[in-house]
């Protein structure tokens, strides 16, 4: 924060404005979410209908799940652009196994295995062998995407029923899906890990100064490996849920989650941590994005306009990251 020369008389009011500014920066995203919801509910009453809220929460929950690992990977200073393709692959694997009569239980295990395998490969190459994260995850993502398309021979796989997963998806507590409750609990757990355990503590330190963390004796490579495995696992779970949600396997489902994922993580950094990606921020940003896109659709915006909104939001996210970096490096 900037220092300004103050006299005793206006030091109190100067402190007040500084505090207010800080308050808005920390909690602004939440306020924005509330404002957006209220605005759309007023503009289009159908926005606030039980059905719409229920749908938004369900799809937001799946997305939020997919982005948990990504949040911490970016917070630690690395990147993963394979997450959405791993989700698509898990999605297709489950669909293929169910369609060929193997039952949902086995299919879900297989889908999970996909996430573990790709997480391990990413982690091994990036965390242990120290290869550049971007190009490696571009490649592993491409691999996952191609296998996903291959499974369905280029098209989607329709499923006649959605098994126990589908049933789970459609359990509701009033307007709130059970899935949302589960994801909320998961996020609460993630918040605990992030704020109270050394795991979360170290990953933020890693982004700032890897040398200091290594010097302190922390097993940095193991930490990063775990992060990549986590990202793979949550992406695959999201993919499994999508199979039930869409009653089909869609090989190209990943592409819309790509920009949304990065946007949610980067924009979410605004909340609570002045620019550092964190799980609550990601969750809020996911909800914000869901509300904005749903509202825009109800307002009759075209695909094109919604796509531009996505891109523009990502640019905002980038701006948040840069601003946060400038702020913390200000003393240099």
């Amino acid at each position: 924060m900037t220092d300004f020369p103050m006299t005793t008389t206006d030091s109190a009011s100067a402190r007040w404005t500084a505090d207010l500014k800080s308050f808005f920066l920390r909690y602004g995203l939440f306020l924005l979410l509330v404002l957006v919801i209220l605005a759309f509910a007023w503009l289009r009453p159908s926005f606030g209908s039980a059905g719409n809220i229920n749908d938004m929460l369900r799809s937001a929950s799946i997305a939020a799940l997919m982005f948990v690992g990504l949040t911490w990977i970016i917070a630690a200073g690395e990147i993963d652009v394979s997450f959405m393709s791993v989700a698509a692959l898990a999605n297709m694997v489950v669909a293929a196994l169910v369609a060929s009569g193997h039952g949902w239980a086995l299919a879900c295990l297989a889908g999970l295995a996909v996430g573990v395998i790709f997480g391990l490969v990413n982690g091994l190459l990036v965390a242990i062998f120290r290869l550049p994260a971007l190009v490696i995850t571009i490649a592993t993502g491409g691999l996952a995407g191609s296998v996903a398309a291959a499974i369905g021979l280029g098209t989607s796989i329709s499923l006649p029923s959605t098994g126990f997963v589908g049933a789970l998806l459609h359990v509701n507590f009033g307007v709130v899906p059970l899935l949302t409750v589960i994801v909320a609990l998961l996020y609460a757990g993630a918040w605990f890990v992030q704020e109270r355990l050394t795991f979360g503590h170290y990953l933020y330190a890693l982004e700032q100064n890897r040398a200091a963390v290594v010097e302190a004796g922390v097993p940095v490579n193991r930490l990063l490996l775990m992060l990549y495995i986590l990202s793979g696992v949550v992406s695959s779970i999201a993919g499994i849920l999508l199979t039930a949600d869409l009653s089909s396997g869609q090989p190209y489902i990943g592409s819309s989650y790509f920009i949304d994922g990065l946007t949610s993580v980067l924009l979410g950094g605004m909340a609570l941590k002045f620019g550092k990606p964190n799980v609550i921020g990601t969750l809020t940003a996911v909800l914000l994005l869901a509300a904005l896109l749903s509202g825009a659709a109800l307002l009759g915006w075209t695909d094109a306009q919604r796509q531009i909104v996505r891109g523009a939001l990502l640019l905002c996210g980038v701006a948040v990251v840069v601003w946060a970096r400038r702020k913390t490096r200000a003393h240099i």
Binding site: V135, A139, G142, S146, V147, L262, L314, V318
Partner: protein
Amino acid sequence: MMALKSSPLTLRLLAFVLLLGVIAAVFQSFAPAYLSENNLHALLRHMSVNGLTAIGLTFVIVVRHFDLSFPGVASLGAMTLGWLLANDYSLAESVAGGIGIGLLAGLINGSVISYLRLPDIVTTIATGGVAVGLSYFYSNGTSLSENFFMSGILDLNDSKFLSLDMPVVILLGAAIVAFIVLHCTRFGRAFYATGENRRSALFSGIRVKAYVLTAFGLCGALACLAITLLVASSGAANVTAGNQLMMPAFAAVYLGAALFGAPSIPATLAGTLLMSAMLNGFTLLAIPYYYSDAIVSTVLILAIGIFDPKLTTLVGGLFSRKPAR
């Protein structure tokens, strides 16, 4: 493995020819039509699109940056081209418009990354996303093909020059110009100096920011030139046109760099040739595109591993014992 990096040029060329030979032999045995004149023409035409994109990406990789926006920018360029053609602009104007959009997008990327110091990965993802969104505006996402036949755009794919297909001629022309710039001029030296040791280049009086800017501009422009050829060959402009460009471009540049020790225009062309040889073979064998995409990804991973000095020193260390200091 350490020897891999310092191998003389002849050894590397031999490795390249050997690889090419192996690929040709394998595919020829499964599909006798592989080495036919028709197929070789098709192969070279396919290579043109990927080759042009890869050449543009080479400049960005040489200055040690990343550009993930070119698929989206290419889609925008394709739709701009299609729209201009559909609205009776001349072929020259339309093509210039398409490429100009690419150049503009690249310069925006470059100035934001070079002068405002934004991180290149997420910034180019963002601009790519915005570009795709903008590309929807021309026709609300539908395909454009009006006037194509009459404008002469299809000639870019069909006509010949000195018995070479036009796309190949364009690739060769671009490759020659790029080669001269990157390897025979002072500008090329400045690009390499900027990438290999930015601080040292700065201390030698090189305008490093301007070179990074130019590299991104070239990448955008060349991606749009590539997409022009794709539009010419498919006869229509789509918003998804650019999606196919990403992986083969990275694979070509990294594969070439792995083979020849550093990114360069000849290395990129070699990488593109190898990639196209494989992909063409798969098409001939009627293997669906998704399998070949998987192969491209795997090749990319292997190429990165070989290209990265840390990994080669690690493996090299396994074969020799370093004495304690």
